[in-house]
């Protein structure tokens, strides 16, 4: 009796052909994008979206053409942080036009499709019982559609703001083109380092993307009154983490109230408060990544401790 592998095709649906068409569409869409950069972390609450948005602004401030895809389907925050709340995606022959944020940053996110900002993401189904069996697959398909069907146009960098979890980067590895990179965000605590280290180890094993380095977010606190920087989390040494993981330590981002206010208002800190330590840190990170953007894909290693 024949086995599965003895039979060519699937009898009529041509699922493999449909998947092949999707791959072709992905390659075509990404052909106008120089670099794809995933911002990731095993740990939640470390500021991935903040780093994504402010780094995007810092890169755009330097003249790069930037897009952001908010890959956090259920916890999207990039729309608010870029000030594009209320913009409606335009659907045309070349795909769905993204929202346009400050400095021309193009934004695509699930909440652009929702009827209101706080509406939950809910999917039609005959039954929601045991939704865990299909929901993640469906959300991956939605993410793939947002990547492929968005009319990004010419971009120097497309940043992907991933949700927390060590599995997130490996899960999307099939969507990442050659020359893609990943930044890992942590905060200087041992708790964060433990989770981030696990995620980085998994990513180095499972993902083809270049691990560009670790960013130490909330590395210090900038006093709102005197401007002095002080320790915010006393527990961790992110440089040691980077050394253990054999990845570059790309720098430290201080926290300050104006950063939180800028994110709430959808404003770029680097443009509105360029002389603050935090804005300078993001600009330093953007400078480092500017070298990476210009490198050929085969020579993507970058130097750490630029910030």
């Amino acid at each position: 009796m024949k086995t599965y592998s003895d039979i060519v095709g699937d009898g009529g649906s041509d699922i493999l052909g449909q998947v092949s068409d999707i791959v072709d569409a992905l390659q075509k869409r990404l052909s106008t994008i120089t670099r794809v950069l995933a911002v990731t972390s095993g740990k939640g609450g470390v500021g991935k979206s903040t780093v994504t948005v402010q780094l995007a602004a810092a890169l755009a401030h330097r003249g790069w053409k930037i897009g952001i895809l908010d890959a956090d389907i259920n916890g999207a925050s990039v729309v608010r942080m870029t000030g594009v709340t209320g913009q409606s995606p335009k659907i045309g022959a070349e795909g769905v036009s993204p929202a346009i944020g400050p400095m021309g940053i193009k934004v695509m996110a699930m909440d652009l499709f929702l009827p209101e900002e706080t509406a939950p993401v809910a999917w039609d189904a005959h039954t929601q019982q045991d939704a865990f069996t299909w929901r993640q697959t469906l959300e991956m398909t939605a993410l793939r559609e947002m990547l492929i069907d968005t009319h990004w146009g010419e971009l120097d960098v497309l940043l992907l703001d991933l949700p927390p979890g060590g599995d997130r980067l490996p899960n999307i590895s099939g969507l990442l083109p050659e020359g893609a990179g990943a930044l890992t965000v942590t905060i200087p605590t041992r708790v964060s380092h433990t989770v981030v280290e696990r995620a980085v180890r998994a990513a180095k094993t499972l993902v083809g993307a270049e691990m560009l380095g670790i960013i130490d977010n909330m590395a210090s606190h900038v006093c709102g009154h005197c401007g002095e920087e002080e320790t915010l989390f006393p527990g961790g040494d992110s440089r040691s983490l980077a050394e253990r993981m054999n990845v570059p330590h790309l720098g430290e981002i201080p926290f300050e109230p104006r950063l939180a206010a800028a994110c709430d208002a959808g404003e770029p800190l680097v443009a509105n408060h360029p002389d603050t330590p935090t804005a300078r840190a993001f600009d330093g990170l953007a400078e480092t990544l500017s070298h990476w953007i210009q490198m050929p894909n085969s020579q993507s290693e970058i130097q750490g401790d630029a910030v």
């Binding site: 649906s13 999707i22 335009k90 659907i91 769905v96 499709f113 069996t133 939605a142 559609e145």
Partner: protein, 195 residues
């Protein structure tokens, strides 16, 4: 997923799809060799699993609309999205899906799963009737059937299993070196199909 006709040891081919009805799809496969047909009936969770992959059962005859799966499956979509002109295609496709159980124009949860052919979706009874119709006669070049033997399997073997029985009996006759299939041969195969 692939289906194999165990009698012919050949892959079966997709004939038609229907549904979903109450979360279940009916997908009919047929063996081109013996005409044997079978219907795969999915439960709601299986239907939803396929739907989540963003592929179409029965093949994709037209390119998908931008973000078709996302826009068709979100329970709530902002009202001004479809107002952008070309963005209403998934809703229009759902409107055309007259067979959906809810009759909801824009919210058919499964419309994008099925091949978007030009034929109208059959009613459930039409579908059952078409599936139950006699499949094509199997080609039998080597062994002839007597009229009595033909009549006997028509009377004694249920229609849904008849094509498979014909092929199996012909194979048996060929292996035995018989030049024709008569009632004696059917007696010998009685244990196989109670013919």
């Amino acid at each position: 997923m692939k289906f194999l006709c165990m009698t012919c040891d050949d892959p079966m081919n997709l004939q038609k799809t229907e549904g979903p009805h109450q979360g279940s799809m009916s997908v009919v496969f047929q063996c081109d060799g013996c005409g044997w047909q079978m219907a795969m009936l999915t439960n709601p969770m299986e239907t939803q699993a396929v739907r989540s992959l963003g592929v179409k059962i029965g093949g994709a005859t037209v390119p998908a609309e931008p973000m078709e799966m996302l826009r068709s499956n979100l329970t709530g979509v902002r009202a001004d999205l479809a107002a952008n002109g070309e963005g209403s295609a998934p809703a229009q496709a759902a409107e055309a899906d007259a067979g959906n159980e809810d009759g909801a124009a824009s919210k058919c949860p499964f419309s994008q799963m099925l091949q978007t052919g030009s034929e109208e979706t059959p009613t459930r009874q039409e579908f059952i009737t078409s599936v139950a119709a006699p499949p094509p006669e199997p080609s039998s070049e080597g062994v002839a059937w007597t009229d009595a033997a033909k009549q006997r399997i028509e009377e004694r073997i249920p229609s849904f299993i008849r094509p498979m029985a014909r092929v199996a009996i012909e194979k048996y006759a060929e292996e035995k070196g018989y030049s024709e299939i008569n009632e004696d041969v059917l007696e010998e195969t009685r244990g196989m199909f109670a013919a």
